[in-house]
């Protein structure tokens, strides 16, 4: 349990420290160290969970179960690798004079703030705190989106702030309704505790819960980026500094989805018509298709990949909506591999745009000749995210397709269509950027590509064989969510 507190404590220290001394040189290194320690702490936590199973803190404030433990480790890991990437990136940006000291302070301390919020969302046992943390994540990142102070970035940040704020407010209303349903059967203070709610899910009033779920879905769905609530997402991703886009895509969306699924479990427990499932399927499929179509119209490389995030979140939501062991397992796996792959891609994207000195895809050309590592990284990453084996994304998409074919065959063609369109949309933009001759006056930049290599390596590993402990967690989580295991 100490591990959990440690995990929450370290980022908090980080916030304070960086707020004071964030502008000093090699703070990037320190950031890396901080995240490394955090990662170790999470690993320790994970080992505990592996040994003694689900952990509930004595004061019932924190709950670590198979569903969130691997997400915690994932969060720490992506935070760590992204900090590795952000160190040279930010240095380069500072050389270009895009950033002042204060903004650097802001950046680093809010980076930690965001991590804190993420850990809190995952570890807390209290649905209310979960909401607070989710809102906190927004508040932490909103100033990072407008870090460059360009008109576009401010516009993006404003939209991000307002839309997510309003959305999250809906979630709060949903939480209140949940609480309202809970107090009718339980005591006041503990009524919002997940552990309590999950035990008595059967006795909760289904009507209230359904209404509550609608609000929660709209609220957290805005954060997931479900169409038509997604509009903030591409703006925020494209205008902020790239490390931010990496963690937003890799972590924030996942955690929002995590929150939705937690609530779905309650609703399913309470009412046995698969209302929540259908809603999620509908939203997921819509986001999947629309995101895929949007890919075709992009000119900005980061917007491109943020739409691909929308598409993939759509697929996960759809998979969770289908329910059933296979689809759930697939969705859990997809959460992992997607955030790994997507953050890796954003790393390469960041370097690519630094090479070209622009985010517009028209200007990025011939990467493989200019800076082969970045070019290949981008290409392979895209191959992976497009769902080609032996990368893990393929595994999950394969399972989703089969589950769909099993449960809702008439939806399978839509999925097929979506994947095809998305693939075409990605590659019609990627190929010209990586291939071709080296353009004039573009020089390699200082880049640290270990994050990319590690992430893609992991995704490859997950695609070839899922390690047993992870498989164990996945199947336990599947058992929690869908009521049976695929094993």
């Amino acid at each position: 349990m100490i591990a959990a507190y440690l995990v929450l404590l370290i980022p908090f220290i980080g916030i304070v420290f960086f707020a004071i001394a964030g502008h000093k040189t090699d703070m990037g290194k320190f950031n890396i160290w901080l995240n490394a320690v955090c990662l170790l702490a999470t690993v320790w936590l994970a080992v505990n969970v592996l040994n003694i199973g689900t952990i509930l803190s004595p004061n019932k404030a924190f709950l670590i179960d198979p569903f969130n433990v691997y997400l915690i480790v994932l969060t720490a890991f992506v935070g760590f690798t992204t900090s590795i990437f952000s160190s040279p990136y930010m240095a380069h940006e500072k050389e270009l004079g895009k950033l002042t000291d204060n903004r650097l302070k802001l950046y680093y301390s809010m980076y930690q703030g965001f991590m804190l919020a993420m850990y809190l969302v995952l570890t807390t046992n209290n649905m209310g705190i979960m909401w607070v943390a989710m809102e906190g994540a927004t508040l932490a990142t909103v100033l990072l989106v407008s870090l460059y102070r360009t008109p576009e970035s401010i516009e993006a940040a404003w939209k991000y702030f307002i839309l997510c704020g309003v959305g999250i407010a809906q979630a709060l209303f949903g939480t209140i309704l949940l609480y309202y349903a809970a107090v009718q059967i339980g005591d006041g203070e503990n009524a919002l505790l997940w552990s309590v709610l999950y035990e008595n899910a059967a006795h909760l009033n289904p009507e209230i819960l359904q209404i509550a779920f609608v609000f929660l879905l709209i609220g957290y769905g805005t954060k997931i980026g479900l169409v038509p609530l997604h509009n903030w997402l591409p703006d925020a991703h494209s205008e902020g500094p790239t490390p931010m886009s990496a963690v937003l895509s890799g972590l924030l969306l996942n955690d929002a989805l995590y929150a939705v699924v937690r609530n779905k479990m309650l609703v399913d427990g309470a009412s046995h018509n698969n209302m929540a499932g259908y809603l999620m399927m509908g939203f997921g499929l819509l986001s999947f298709l629309v995101g895929a179509l949007f890919l075709h119209r992009q000119k900005d490389i980061k917007r491109l990949f943020s739409y691909s995030s929308i598409e993939h979140m759509g697929m996960m939501t759809f998979a969770f909506g289908i329910g059933g062991p296979m689809a759930t397992f697939a969705a859990l796996l997809h959460m992992t591999v997607h955030s790994l792959t997507k953050s890796a891609i954003f790393v390469t994207v960041g370097h690519a745009s630094q090479v070209a000195g622009s985010q517009s895809m028209g200007k990025i050309r011939g990467l493989i000749k200019t800076q082969p590592k970045v070019g290949w990284g981008l290409l392979i990453g895209t191959i992976a995210i497009a769902g080609f084996p032996p990368f893990g994304v393929f595994t999950s998409e394969f399972l989703v397709l089969l589950a769909t074919m099993h449960g809702y065959p008439w939806l399978a063609p839509l999925l097929l269509l979506g994947i095809g369109i998305a693939f075409a949309g990605l590659f019609r933009h990627i190929q010209p950027m990586v291939y071709g001759d080296k353009p004039e006056g573009q020089l390699p930049v200082k880049a640290n590509l270990w994050p990319v290599i590690i992430h893609l390596g992991l995704v490859l590993w997950l695609g070839l064989a899922i390690p047993s402990f992870l498989a164990h967690w996945f199947s336990q989580a599947t058992l929690l969510i869908s009521g049976s295991t695929p094993l």
Partner: protein, 225 residues
Amino acid sequence: MNIEQTDFYTQAILSMAALVGLTSFLMLGQGRLLRLIFVFALQGLLLTLTTALAAYSLDNPHLYISAALTLVLKVLFVPWMLRREVLLMNMHRDVQALANKTTVMLGGASLMVFSYYVLHPIVQTTSPVMLNALAVSLSVVLLGMLLMISHRQAVAHVVGFMSIENGLFFAAIVATKGMPMVVELGVAFDVLVAAVLFGIFFLHIRTSIDSLDVDLLNRLNEVDK
């Protein structure tokens, strides 16, 4: 059951609910920013009173804290900030004509009805006061959104956002006699930070587009020119 048979507390709560709903309507129809802010402050005050009332009649001490927080944040700090902003941009003179005020108002009214309709399925499991409170707060939330949709000033958006918060808060107080303390504090903290951020953003927006009209923030889109 009819209102005569209920105790004073309930009657008070119900009338409070009515007043809060009314303020929302007033805000929705309001074209002048200063008045808008004033009405918003009024709503905050009503909320404070409600909280205090609840705290008193349920003698639930931690609600006093919430009341105090509400007073400080929603009645004093935020309105002061907004007012300052408006005066700074000297927008207090110009009236923003709502595109089609009557439609908006009618829409608001129908929203009220709609929220009752939505909460109808849970009527048999709850007392009417709860139902009323929930319905009103839901409609306040919806009206707040409608306010944001219909107004173009960033200030109005902030007001709308905050009034949504008010609605939620009202629900939390009345329907569930206050959330757990931690949650209350967390929410209050978030509101505070949000308010501060709004301040910062006004600064940025002004510097970037030299106006607070959100319709001018439309560079990022997917439409072919």
